[in-house]
């Protein structure tokens, strides 16, 4: 076991991941309280409320946060919310465009029900700037239409005009980190804020939920799958969680085998030494 080539383990993990993606197992899954709470916050949105969603992630986090964005858009669309999409990192608007196709599929109209305003520069300074005066930062949308000509932008002047702000955030590598959103949106503007973060960011974002500074928190692929369950629309995240569970099972078996092999080796050595 000790002399096993790591490349064999890599290929094994890849194969174990691929099988449930081709044919999902449908493993049972429990919905945790934070996901329930997030779902309840979105469920309270009234028809006509405007919700800001910020795609603060790049390619590396799309697999975790992309399904979250799709589920949230489906839920918000069902509640009749208007969606304003923004991004604090340059790559974000591309992923926003990809996710917003969900709304197109649900019969929503670009410009009337939702809009993608694209990237805003400056990270925390940028958040503070649009929170005070929205149109000083966003003058045109991602398709270069002036915001004054976009119906969904009517009446949006500052952060308080949003019923809820959601940042789907990749963490310290980004420009508008979760801490910045909490400082500028929750503390300075007193606007309800919810975060969806990558699994790596989970432990350091959780205290904000515990202290009531964010209304909801979704962490990684697991929460995305749980949200799909809450929506009763199992999708890509649910299947990916099967792959995640299968890979974890193999890793645990390998850890157990490695330890058994080590103990047997040690026992044999001790026996050899005593002879």
């Amino acid at each position: 076991m000790k002399s096993i080539n790591p490349k064999i383990i890599y290929v094994l993990i890849l194969l174990v991941i691929a099988i449930p993606l081709i044919r999902p197992f449908g493993l049972p899954m429990m919905v945790m309280k934070p996901t329930h709470d997030f779902f309840a916050v979105v469920d309270k949105i009234r028809p006509g409320d405007t919700v800001m969603m910020s795609w603060d992630y790049a390619a590396g986090s799309d697999v975790e946060l992309g399904p979250v964005a799709n589920s949230l858009l489906t839920h918000l669309s069902e509640k009749g919310a208007k969606i304003i999409a923004v991004s604090s990192i340059p790559d974000g608007p591309m992923f926003a465009e990809a996710s917003l196709k969900v709304l197109e599929g649900l019969g929503k109209v670009y410009g009337e029900d939702y809009v993608n305003l694209g990237f805003f520069a400056g990270g925390e300074s940028g958040i503070a700037a649009w929170a005070d005066d929205f149109k000083s930062v966003f003058r045109a949308d991602w398709r270069k239409t002036p915001v004054d000509q976009i119906p969904v932008m009517k009446g949006i002047e500052k952060a308080q005009d949003f019923a809820l702000v959601i940042s789907m955030n990749t963490g310290p590598g980004g420009y508008g980190v979760p801490d910045a959103w909490v400082r500028q949106i929750h503390v300075a503007e007193k606007v309800p804020l919810a975060l969806a973060v990558t699994a790596i960011m989970g432990p350091q974002t959780q205290p904000y939920l515990q202290s009531g500074q964010i209304q909801g928190l979704l962490i990684g692929l697991r929460s995305a799958a749980e949200y799909e369950k809450c929506l009763e629309k199992p999708g890509i995240a649910t299947a990916q969680m099967d792959a995640q569970s299968a890979a974890h099972a193999v890793i645990l078996i390998l850890i157990a085998l490695g330890n058994i092999s080590y103990l047997l080796d040690r026992k044999a050595k001790n026996k050899g030494a005593s002879v």
Partner: protein
């Protein structure tokens, strides 16, 4: 199997990246890695230019918002860093950027990251969860008390606090590491899904 050249190119680049782990460092892997960094940098530059156009140049030229000349000049001054005789001018812009960031950050940092989080640990000891939070906070903080050594009067019963604190910290780091490993697996799952669904057409997941 996909017939799109884009998908084939993306699949080739994905496999090129995997070749580092499954085979060894090689020229194809390095080419893919450099392409990834180059595309990312190029995209960021284009988005940055578009942002300057939308929020700076167009309002200045088309709407006559002349006040925008000031931030644009300050932005250009950043590039004086590359012209030795006037490189000091870039510091002025940098100082404004740092000062603005620090000022805005401080506006909410004390409340968001100190007061609210400390007050969230003042909980009634009426559940196991609350007990763990309060205990973890007290012993975790005690681990970072360096004003007095845990000797003499502090040794003995109180000496257990930082030791327990270290255990709590280790459990927290373990949870972080577990989440990190889950995040890395998710990335692998994303690429595996692309290969089996978009490239090979073996999965019908949507």
């Amino acid at each position: 199997m996909s017939t799109s050249p884009d998908v084939w190119l993306a699949a080739f680049l994905t496999l090129a990246m995997f070749s580092l782990a499954i085979y060894k460092e090689n020229a194809v892997y390095r080419a893919a890695e450099h392409a990834f960094i180059g595309i990312g940098a190029g995209h960021a530059i284009v988005t940055g230019i578009q942002s300057i156009q939308t929020t700076g140049w167009n309002p200045l030229v088309k709407n006559g918002e002349y006040a925008l000349i000031i931030p644009m000049i300050l932005g250009l001054m950043l590039f004086t860093k590359y012209i030795r005789p006037i490189s000091h001018l870039s510091r002025l812009t940098m100082s404004i950027v740092v000062a603005t960031g620090a000022g805005l950050g401080l506006r909410g940092a004390v409340q968001a990251q100190l007061l609210n989080q400390v007050s969230a640990t003042f909980l009634p000891l009426n559940s196991v969860n609350n007990l763990i939070i309060v205990l973890g906070f007290v012993v975790g903080t005690s681990y970072f008390l360096f004003t007095k050594r845990y000797t003499g009067a502090l040794e003995g019963p109180l000496g257990i606090l930082p030791k327990l604190g270290r255990w709590f910290l280790m459990i927290a780091f373990g949870a972080s590491f577990g989440n990190a490993s889950m995040g890395f697996l998710s990335m692998l799952i994303g690429r595996a899904l692309f290969l089996v669904r978009d490239w090979l057409g073996l999965s019908s997941l949507v």
